[in-house]
């Protein structure tokens, strides 16, 4: 399966081509994205998973390798589907910069998920940073330029840290291959591992939108177009979660598949996590701008994800995967809804969207379903995540218990602002000029139905999750896959 490289190379070629195609860029974008989706789905059903591809024929510890396992393919499909869904929200004609950066982002997020090498991982993260910064500043006004700069500054700080960590790893272990590091990580002494982890985690947390590292989030969401929001949320965010799962749980873990951070690192992470949740929800409480609300809310959701990961139990990890999928779907529905509604109402302030839910009930109901799922209300996908994470947190210790209580309180706040918005949609409003095509209501509806379906019938998703958990539980299989002699 050497052709796996196409997932990364073809978007890169397209990025180059898009400079010359002008108005045909949009078609190219759809073709390339569809290719990526179809290709990854073909891999999913090829029956060859897991497999490992050594680039240039150099075997694993020496060369760069791309490994495709269950976890990889899951996130690969998520990233590519996100790309397609986000593309559907591009309505106006964009210039070549937009598409060019989009292709680079597509290529780099695919790379983040596929790669089996720490330095390669770093390169793709850098590439995605530069693409995202370009996309944010695409609007070319004061706000978006500032937001892009902010993001660029923060992520380059982060990249310095991760580069230092990579250097340290190479110095101490003599390798940068994921599997090889995982194999040798037990040889590291406590102090070096802590230092490496501190440096590396602090760079990862920037992408993960965790509190002291996330000053770019709200501005970047506010300043950019909806499609770019969706790129950040669906592609970069999802790839970032994959990175955390892979690196923290499978590469730098001394025990099999558990987050066994040395010292009190995991409790600090937990602290960050629930502070992020609280700050995110509180920030959104009185906000009027829908994009900012959604930005705050995705911070909070990722806080819950990190909280679940740092609990260090597989049950909680299962909850995390539910939260990931619920957030992934829900935010798409919400951004698409906001996109449509803001076009009709002419602003992103939710108070201006009054009464739109009566004219377009499908969109408003989909929005409500997603909101309820994010709140962790039963019959929606998020509930299965919430109950699992809370249930495991209650018995893990004092800090965990506090975190669980804070997350529950945060979900109450979330309920207040989201349902207030839903109410505004359904309340009596005045007549408006613009119209929303019924076709654009279809996609949010389908995604909301998926949320509902997972919520009512968790079996449908439980089987996928148990496969993913099996992989996380036994990193030695991953090591064996990559390092075994052929």
């Amino acid at each position: 399966m050497n052709s796996i490289v196409f997932l990364i190379v073809i978007p890169l070629i397209a990025a180059f081509l898009s400079l010359f195609l002008g108005k045909n860029d949009k078609i190219l974008a759809y073709i390339v994205t569809l290719f990526n989706i179809i290709f990854s789905i073909l891999i999913l059903f090829s029956g060859k998973i897991p497999f490992n591809v050594a680039i240039g024929g150099w075997r694993a510890p020496y060369g760069i390798n791309y490994a495709v396992t269950d976890l990889t393919i899951f996130f690969l499909v998520l990233v590519n589907v996100a790309a397609l869904l986000a593309l559907t929200s591009v309505r106006e004609i964009m210039e070549y910069q937009f598409y060019s950066f989009y292709f680079v982002l597509l290529s780099s997020t695919n790379g983040i998920v596929l790669t089996g090498d720490l330095f390669n991982f770093f390169l793709f993260i850098e590439l995605s940073t530069f693409a995202v910064a370009g996309l944010i500043s695409y609007k070319r006004d004061r706000l978006s330029t500032g937001a892009a700069l902010k993001y660029l500054i923060l992520s380059s700080t982060a990249s310095i840290f991760s580069l230092a960590a990579i250097g340290l790893i190479y110095k101490t272990l003599g390798t940068l291959n994921f599997a090889d590091i995982a194999n040798k990580v037990n040889n590291l002494n406590e102090a070096s591992l802590s230092l490496i982890l501190i440096l590396y985690i602090s760079s990862l947390l920037v992408e993960l939108k965790i509190f002291p590292f996330n000053m770019w989030v709200v501005k970047a969401y506010e300043a950019s177009k909806t499609s770019v929001n969706l790129f950040i949320h669906g592609m970069l965010g999802t790839a970032g979660i994959y990175g955390v799962l892979r690196i923290l749980l499978m590469v730098f873990s001394k025990e099999t598949g558990k987050l066994t951070l040395s010292g009190n690192l995991s409790s600090i992470l937990m602290l960050f996590a629930f502070v992020t949740v609280i700050i995110g929800e509180i920030g959104a409480l009185t906000e009027k701008n829908m994009k900012k609300i959604l930005a705050f809310s995705s911070m909070a959701q990722l806080g819950i994800v990190l909280f679940g990961i740092s609990l260090g139990s597989f049950d909680a990890l299962k909850g995390v995967l539910y939260i990931v999928i619920s957030n992934y779907l829900a935010k798409f529905v919400m951004f698409l809804t906001v996109n449509e509604f803001s076009k009709v109402s002419g602003s992103t302030n939710y108070l201006d969207m009054k009464g739109l839910g009566r004219r377009y009930p499908v969109l408003a109901i989909s929005f409500t379903i997603s909101a309820l799922s994010l709140m962790g209300i039963p019959f929606f996908a998020g509930f299965w995540g919430k109950i699992s994470i809370i249930g495991n947190a209650v018995f893990s210790g004092k800090l965990e218990l506090i975190g669980a209580v804070l997350i529950l309180i945060a979900s109450v706040i979330e309920g207040v602002y989201y349902l207030r918005i839903s109410h505004t949609f359904f309340s009596q409003g005045h007549e408006r000029e613009g119209r929303i095509s019924r076709v654009y209501c279809l996609l949010p509806m389908i995604l909301a139905l998926v949320i509902l379906f997972i919520g009512i019938n968790p079996d449908s998703f439980e089987n996928i999750i148990s496969i993913l958990l099996d992989e996380i539980k036994s990193p030695e299989k991953y090591i064996k896959l990559i390092l075994s002699l052929k």
Binding site: M215, V218, E287, H423
Partner: protein, 624 residues
């Protein structure tokens, strides 16, 4: 069994599709409710019916399953709430001709969760239904109107907080007893209580917290007055009669059996501390609800506080831990359902015709809406607990149980509250229906037939339960027997008491009252002929109203009706302002929100914060 869950869901979907067509929506709503009631009727006695859905979802190493079972106590609540719902849905047919918004689909979802709560056999199902009820009632209260938003938000916050606390409680319970089934966990909790005392008590308290919120028990007594004042009237009738019982049912189902089976040390040889805890909260709710009801000027708020007081009575019945008190509490739950539905239907009728819910702006409606008046009269007689109507029997049982358990303070609180009830009930009657009819209401008519029939049904219901309490007591005692309580099946007309020789025959009581009525009727007929005078005459005491500069409209002095009484209680009420406390929490969150937004708006010091984060990671060992 499964049909009664599928039908509401399908109906809710259909209602949502036809939402703009009122001619379809409300009849469909009615038919669906009728079907549910008939189906519930056939379910009586078939306690073994059960439906389990298995999933692969694992929690704590065990696969979750959802079970719905026809448990007797749940059936008792579900059946009577279905009766009330049916009556209200007949009322809604007429009531909603004028309204712009349409609450029917959401309401149907609530009815679904209503049945789910009463038939859930395990805590997870119970919790799912409970949460469903929470957010759907938010939408039902606002019903697309902005003026209701703040109140609905208050309700939503309390509801979500309660659900969160319940979630932790359930998880604790599941971990302690190894089972999410309600009966099994009750049994298990009694077993492990002595070895895991702190955790068990924590679980009980967390669950109680959620139930108290939903039933508006003392620290959370504010929401009914806020919500009922703004919600759509027909839905509010459902809420005040049926939904407020959601907290009562699980207490009866789980807390009472568990606490009753525990052998806790008794205080003063009467009762253990959990009983006292529950009892005091009940007593405070009863007294405070009554006092606050006396001061209201909005009639819906008045009866909201009256509901709080009634929930207090029910809680007192549970606190007695006496079988008569328990029966009395459950009996009162149904009595309150019936009489509160009757009263709120009349209020809805008054608002339907006048558009006014402030009592001092009304008056004299007895001339224009006689049937509504009669329903209201019977309703308040029932609410005051005067014998020939329902409401008497259950209060009688609860007070007896309290006396026999030597809980004198609670009995005093209850008697105080019942007496105080006369004050606000009479005031409502006087302000709304008696006195002078303001000129602007001269032309109003009695409500249409679809709204009259439910009121007449409620009148008959109140009288029937009052005279033949066996209508409710027989199913209740049968249900309790089926659950495993050692009770005798009640007879049709008599009520057993907890004290010696306290069995009373309510039909006899009714006949005595009827005799009194006949005698006074004879005296009325034989007495002097009544004289009709102009309305201005009866209040003025010889003065000429024109000289005071008032007209007939302004004669109806029911504003600040109990001013001296209010001055008496003012200092007490100023000190306990739970509402202000909650509001200040909300405000603080909003201030914090502005701060956080400011932090992210400017986004300055991003790198500084990044460094702080890294430092925290490094220094973490010393901090935690």
């Amino acid at each position: 069994m499964v049909e009664i869950f599928i039908i509401p869901l399908v109906t809710a979907f259909l209602l949502a599709i036809f939402i703009r067509n009122k001619k379809v929506v409300w009849p469909l709503f009615l038919i669906s409710n009728l079907y549910i009631l008939l189906k519930l009727w056939t379910l009586f006695g078939k306690w073994e019916i059960e439906k389990t859905i298995y999933t692969n979802y694992e929690l704590f190493g065990a696969k979750l399953s959802f079970t719905l079972s026809n448990n007797p106590l749940g059936w008792y609540f579900a059946f009577f709430s279905a009766v009330i719902t049916l009556v209200i849905s007949v009322f809604s047919l007429g009531f909603n001709q004028k309204t712009k918004e349409n609450v029917a689909p959401i309401w149907m979802l609530i009815i679904f969760s209503n049945l789910g709560i009463f038939f859930a056999a395990d805590w997870i199902t119970f919790f799912m239904m409970w949460e469903l009820m929470g957010w759907t009632s938010f939408f039902a209260i606002t019903n697309g109107r902005d003026k209701a938003l703040n109140e609905a938000k208050y309700y939503l916050v309390l509801s979500l907080l309660g659900a969160s606390s319940m979630l932790i409680g359930i998880i604790l319970l599941g971990a302690l007893t190894g089972s999410f089934e309600i009966f099994a966990s009750a049994y298990g909790l009694v077993q492990v209580f002595y070895s895991e005392k702190a955790l068990s008590i924590a679980a009980i308290m967390l669950l109680l917290f959620a139930f108290f919120i939903k039933s508006a028990i003392f620290p959370f007594y504010m929401w009914p007055s806020k919500v009922y004042a703004v919600g759509p009237e027909d839905y509010i009738t459902f809420m005040s009669s049926v939904m407020i019982k959601y907290g009562i049912y699980p207490i009866a189902m789980f807390i009472v059996p568990v606490v009753g089976s525990l052998d806790l040390p008794k205080i003063l040889n009467t009762a253990n501390w959990i009983q006292y805890f529950v009892g005091y909260l009940g007593a405070i709710s009863a007294v405070l609800g009554t006092i606050l009801a006396i001061f209201q000027t909005d009639m819906k708020k008045l009866f909201a506080y009256s509901s709080v007081a009634n929930m207090g009575y029910i809680l007192l019945g549970f606190a007695s831990m006496n079988i008569v008190g328990f029966e009395g509490a459950l009996f009162h739950a149904v009595n309150h359902m019936v009489l509160k539905a009757a009263i709120f239907l009349t209020l809805a009728a008054v608002i339907f015709r006048t558009g006014e819910s402030e009592m001092h702006k009304l008056g004299g409606l007895v001339y224009r809406m006689p049937i509504t008046f009669l329903t209201f009269l019977l309703g308040i007689i029932a609410a005051a607990g005067i014998p020939p109507l329902n409401g008497f029997g259950s209060k009688w049982m609860i007070i007896q149980a309290l006396m026999s358990q030597k809980m004198i303070i609670f009995a005093i609180a209850m008697i105080f509250a019942s007496t105080g009830a006369f004050m606000y009930l009479f005031r409502a009657l006087a302000s709304i229906f008696l006195g002078q009819l303001p000129d602007r209401f001269k032309d109003i008519k009695e409500v249409p037939l679809t709204m009259l029939i439910p009121m007449i049904i409620m009148m008959i219901g109140m009288l029937l339960i009052g005279v033949v309490p066996g209508v409710v007591m027989k199913p209740l005692t049968t249900a309790l027997r089926a659950v495993g309580y050692n009770v005798n099946i009640a007879s049709w007309t008599s009520l057993e008491g907890a004290l010696k020789n306290s069995t009373i025959d309510l039909t006899l009581v009714f006949l005595i009252f009827l005799g009194g009525f006949v005698i006074s009727a004879i005296m009325y007929i034989l007495g002097n002929k009544s004289e009709t005078v102009p309305q201005e005459d009866n209040y003025t005491g010889g003065e000429y109203p024109e000289e005071w500069g008032v007209n007939a409209d302004r004669f109806n002095y029911s504003y600040s009706f109990y001013q001296p009484f209010k001055e008496m209680f003012e200092p007490l009420l100023e000190k306990i302002s739970i509402d202000e406390f909650f509001a200040s929490i909300g405000r603080n969150f909003e201030y914090m929100s502005a701060t956080v937004q400011g932090l992210f708006r400017r986004g300055e010091g991003a790198v500084l914060l990044f460094s702080i984060g890294v430092l925290l990671l490094i220094l973490g060992g010393w901090i935690i």
